[in-house]
Symmetry: C2
Subunit: 252 residues, 2 copies
């Protein structure tokens, strides 16, 4: 399968998608970004045309992939004048119905955190696919399959749940690790000491159900240690988090 | 260095320490456990004698390592009749002063989560050492060095902070991952989809300071997504956790 693809958006997600789709043998037609220099820089890398005007996005591609901020998706979709091709967004939380002014629309959601400077590992990254018809779903599924084998049909409701869970896995875990790093560095202890524990924690949580292997003062109701830990925390919000985790763990 | 070592306790930590110290060339003298069959089973593996009576723990070893529950450390230490050797506990949160009825005492804290059935990765595991004199510290440091190179001098106060941080890194992260797994499995979505995101999250949090790379609805104050996520959570404690993380992230 070799498809003609236009990318709407040249941020982190648009950037990496354009590169991998180009690399997977597809023909990138156009790159749109409100900032012409961003569209141009990316277009140059993938042999595409650049534009900063939605009305200049040309008809005739097989896929139009929208990679803009969630609150711009609907307005961008409404401004695109297309008579053919599948229009898909890459958002974890927006409904595909935001694209319903078009005939064929769906979701092409790469479940990963993107940074501009670093190529994601496309071999493991899961694609979540949805579409307004079975044919659209199949088209998007086949497109994702040209990138890797981890492709799943995930409907709007499932994708929103997945996005919530991704926020927990990524954003909240990251914040927790920031707190633990702050705690030790305040006492001049290098965070390195905790890295083997962190890696073992993650390794185990992937193999077992985390609730089955929970350890620590909260699960054994060790109030002495819990009180000591609370007294070591100066930050009131961290204290609240510690207390709430303790409560939540004890309720499982 | 080849030392004579007696282990007080045959739980997860005692079990693995006896095995690795034996494997590192030391001579394990005795294994104590309140349950004779546990002491015996472990003693057999490392060529030691077993006992379930503290008064039968013999004098004359170089190191006595206590690996019992925190609230039993002091009483165990007080019952040991020793005229020589270093007495050390393996606790993250107990003070070494709980051992002060002895002449030479300290901390020999392996910073990792232990499961009976699985050998920890001793090549990366950090040892935290403290002692009541410089000579004791050096002895324990040298002993730890026979197991691996990750040995640190960490005093009582630092170790307690490290233990707090270990609870955040291990227990709280594990609980968060349990929640995220429960959320997706309730909607028949395999947790596998989130594993690449999890691994990338951890990889980045080790390289960068987590607070520097925070992403997500909380940090960009995306109240629409936050409200949607809260509405997707049925569990009141999870709702509270979501709201508190959102607050804590926004305050960094």
């Amino acid at each position: 399968m070799q498809a003609k693809i236009t990318l709407i958006g040249a941020g982190n997600v648009g950037h990496h998608l354009a590169l991998i789709l180009h690399q997977s043998g597809h023909s990138i037609q156009q790159i749109f970004s409100r900032k012409y220099h961003k569209a141009y820089a990316l277009a140059k890398k993938v042999g595409a045309k650049a534009t900063n005007k939605l009305e200049n996005v040309r008809d005739g591609a097989d896929f139009y992939i929208i990679a803009v901020k969630d609150d711009a998706i609907q307005s961008v979709a409404e401004q695109l004048q297309l008579t053919q091709g599948v229009l898909a967004h890459t958002s974890g939380s927006a409904s595909i119905l935001q694209l319903k002014t078009h005939l064929q629309f769906g979701s092409f959601y790469p479940l990963q955190t993107f940074r501009k400077k670093q190529m994601p590992d496309w071999t493991t990254l899961p694609f979540c696919i949805d579409g307004n018809t079975d044919a659209v779903k199949k088209h998007l599924f086949r497109l994702a399959k040209t990138v890797n084998k981890n492709v799943y049909y995930i409907d709007d409701a499932q994708r929103q749940t997945l996005h919530l869970s991704a926020v927990v896995v990524n954003n909240f875990t990251n914040h927790l690790l920031g707190i633990s790093q702050e705690i030790v560095e305040d006492k001049n202890i290098p965070f390195d000491l905790l890295v083997p524990l962190l890696q073992e924690t993650i390794r185990k949580a992937i193999i077992h159900h985390p609730f089955e292997i929970q350890t620590g003062p909260a699960v054994r109701n060790d109030t002495k240690t819990i009180q000591k830990h609370l007294s070591l925390l100066d930050n009131d919000v961290y204290k609240e988090l510690y207390a709430l985790f303790t409560k939540s763990i004890s309720l499982v």
